[in-house]
Symmetry: none
DNA sequence: AATGAATGAGCCTTCATTCAT
DNA sequence: AATGAATGAAGGCTCATTCAT
């Protein structure tokens, strides 16, 4: 009956909607979804609380939009890297570069990643989007392999494993949690492990 | 000013405290920390809402206790496995067994793991406990290696990487999220990767 | 300070104002005054939310206009019936016709009547208009009696009583609420009661 | 899942619940349902806003309870009057007494009646309760007639008509809206009309 | 005259925590 | 130790009304 959310067409409105998403992005990063209230989001975005509900169905809707922004932020550099791959793949040199690249992506988005990912367990839509993100990355890599004529057995499983390793490693690396770990050694180990996987 | 939280010495009280923790454990598993309220915990535990604050400082305090229980539940089977290792280690056969074992542990505790882990990003103490958990597992394995005279270069880093891989894989395996993945193949791939790591 | 509410003189504007009133009329009928919001009224009228406040002081002002329309809708057929009365009145045949006529009027306007009348208890102006409506009907009938030379003792009281009876009956008849009531019998009873009143 | 409303068994609690209902009763009477907010109800009842939701599901639930109280208040004196009727009914003297009695009931409850009745058009449960109220009164009178061996054709319809007339008249009488009406004359007219009905 | 985005007060409701018993 | 009623701050959301364009 209600629930019609303005779909802003004018640039001014889009700008405002983006401001709200950005405010949500920041606040979710800083204090998490449950630590953020809509008034705060509005304030940070420089708008009134009311208008937030002009652009979004509810608080969770902001979350979903933030999530989408996040996903784009993650996918974009990955696509860029893959686009550059033209000739035959030299995994020995490619993988270490990739690892560094993924590390960079993670560094930029750690906080929001944590905030968003922590909701996957209770919010099915959020969970689905994360799954989809993995699917898209996997697919993109598969496509690249095809395009370059690279034949790899169980490619999908390998890619997934590589992604998992990279993700876990990035997390560890960024938080630098364990003092007894030499993260440089760990990084090279990760690279080598993935290289072995694709050899 | 604030009266201390009772440290129950009598068995009756300890039992009651445990009931509350168990109720929290269940509810956090089922609907997450934010989906649970203290009244519900009390009800599930069969106690009054008031007494909850006799045993715990606040809701978060219950969380911490639940987390500790969880950690014990995870550590216990790992310790057991390691205790059984007596002779020289045959990684080729050991690792696959380990993988299965870890999978089992995860299967039992997935929900609560998700619920608790999702709080690590906003709660420093929770985060610390998860880090500590990894530390303890790492240490235990290192100790075992020492005891058995196994010499491995960069053991700590390798163990960590193996843990990360296992954890990520377990998560994937349990949720069976991607239909294009053959999880049996993936499992064997995980085993082999870890074996290679320690060879 | 408050700028006057436009009194539209141009036909275009009058048309627009009427559209808004009509939209209010419909929506109040459908979901009541409190179930309707101004945005919805504007949308239904095909105008912007802002302009509503160009034609009306506030939401309540629309209500008052709707009420006026309603009153006209009720009065018009009553006037028409009375206009037709030319010769000496044969109550025996007139009253049953009247009853049917009033029933018809009610049937057409039940919903809006309910919506509007329910506000009389909290809104003095609404209440006053309903009183005035009764006054006007009473006066019109009195006038007719005079014109036709009909002499009736306590005419005003009788007319009022007849109106009350008719109104209450119509309400009952339309909603058909009580299954144990034979509404045809009731209708004839009403007619007879009123006939007796004027005999 | 939630929605469990305390069913107070202790007198203290019942008292408090009644206080809230009374506060609602008063406020709904004074400013109507929509003019009342829960905070106000709580304040008037001398309790916190929170506890209101310990006793009632939501604001509307208070309304329903108020309505039930109102219904009892209306039924009680009617039952009392009927109970007194023992011998053969002398409608000539009974009806005028009845009229006065109903007038008294209405005088006491006008405001709340208005407030509650105005909600019947948008709230099905409220509507149903008002219908039921009429049903109960009708039934009670029918029973009395039976008990006293009074045989009346179309008794149900007559009773309904009488109720309607009485109700409408009471409303008119209490508000004394039309200055040109002699309400004493009207009252006697009402009595006589009803007497005629049952003769 | 007209638009519709924007405002912000206000409402209902929840829930961690306290307190009288 | 225990109860569970009570508190009240806080949150999400709505909507009559205003304002920049």
């Amino acid at each position: 009956m209600k629930s019609e959310v303005r779909q802003p067409r004018q640039s001014r409105s889009i700008e405002k909607k983006n401001k709200i998403i950005l405010a949500g992005y920041e606040l979710f990063s800083e204090v998490g979804y449950y630590g953020t209230n809509t008034a705060e989001i509005a304030k940070r975005a420089g708008v009134s609380t009311g208008i937030v509900y002009g652009y979004f169905q509810d608080k969770r809707d902001i979350l979903i939009c933030v999530l989408e922004i996040y996903i784009d932020k993650v996918l974009e550099p990955i696509y860029k890297i893959l686009d550059k791959l033209l000739g035959p793949i030299a995994f020995d040199t490619l993988i270490p570069k990739m690892v560094d690249e993924v590390l960079k992506i993670h560094k930029k988005n750690t906080k929001i990643h944590e905030a968003l990912h922590s909701l996957a367990s209770t919010d099915e839509a959020v969970n689905a989007k994360f799954i989809q993100l993995e699917d898209r990355i996997t697919q993109e890599i598969i496509n690249k392999f095809c395009a370059l004529g690279v034949q790899i057995e169980n490619a999908q499983e390998k890619i997934h494993l590589a992604m998992n390793i990279l993700q876990a490693f990035s997390h560890e690396y960024i938080f630098d949690k364990h003092e007894y770990i030499d993260y440089i050694v760990l990084r090279d180990m990760v690279s080598q492990t993935i290289i072995n996987l694709f050899k």
